[in-house]
Amino acid sequence: MADRLRYATADLHVHTALSPCASAEMTPPAIVRAALARGLDMIAICDHNSARNVAAVQEAAARGAQEGHEGRLTVLAGMEISSAEEVHVLGLFPDATAAEAAGVEIRRTLPEAGDGYGAFFGEQPLMSADGRVLGAETAALALATSLELDAVVDLIKRHGGLAVAAHIDRKAFSVFSQLGFFPAEAGFDAIEVTRFTGDDSPRMAGFRALGLPITSSSDSHYLEDIGSAATGLTVAVPSFAEVALALAGLDGRAVCRA
């Protein structure tokens, strides 16, 4: 019998306070509350070059559900990786363990944060599910890894993940800004377009012509931005496996830019 499918709303690019450029208010419980308040079924935590706060947000969502908060939020494990070309790539992973393992490899390719780094780029707090600061990441998450784009995509795939070209309509840190053309052979599973490019804009027609599924996400660095853009998914349940099917367009699963 075919699975019963439903519509789900996902914001697949949300930072926590661990990202140096994100607000300190982006704590695990605050993110979960904001996402539920915006009516999202699913978010993905994608900090810059680290997945070390992912499990805490997942735990905060699980606790919220136990305590009977309205709605149930699925939190996918992700990471926004900066390639050597300074192209930002979202990795979405099957679970926090896979994301953290990928994060360990990524960390080895980053410089250490030196004196004055925090004052310039921002703090990098590691947090608990209830929003306490447990420590600080000492790798320079704001900088680029030494991995070329192909190696980044390969690393994501080796850890069972999906690779999404982040905010490809942005003038910085996108495939187009850094590389001029979209490399068809790079192996992306999807492309992300921000809310600043409209569905009927000429650029959108160009992005559609790439033939990859298009996601829309908030790239939230502040609580108020969560859910300001979202991707509509036709899935059986909000989960990584179902998102993978939706991006591949298999078994009736589908993705549409919401």
Partner: protein
């Protein structure tokens, strides 16, 4: 100045065989950038590009912009598939241990100019 002369003066390492006639071509303009979208929009046709970007897209962008040669700075050396693509496109590739600033400075001394000079 002829491309061949620039290569000699800067002691550049050749990554591609010099295409027929290209060594004799006069190179008067240059551009330095690592953002390929910017190269696409602003690099002068017939000129030389100095970059540390070694992605395959450099070749497509350089061809599209009508560039004659690419110099990779700071010993950044592209993969073999990038080099063979350049050969297909008739584009000459070079690498230098010098950084972008010093390469551009030398080129400028030898009379190569940017679009805004």
């Amino acid at each position: 100045m002829k491309l061949q002369e620039l290569v000699k003066a800067l002691a550049l390492t050749e990554l591609t065989p010099v295409a027929a006639g290209e060594g004799e071509a006069d190179v008067t303009q240059g551009y330095a950038s690592d953002l390929l979208s910017d190269v696409l929009a602003h690099a002068p046709s017939g000129g030389v590009l100095v970059t540390l970007q070694v992605h395959l897209n450099v070749i497509a962008v350089a061809s599209h912009a009508g560039l004659r040669a690419v110099i990779f700075s700071s010993s950044r050396t592209p993969e073999d598939d990038v080099i063979s693509k350049a050969v297909d496109e008739g584009l000459s590739l070079y690498v230098s241990p010098a950084d972008t600033f010093d390469i551009v400075g030398r080129l400028y001394q030898l009379g190569v100019r940017g679009r805004t000079a």
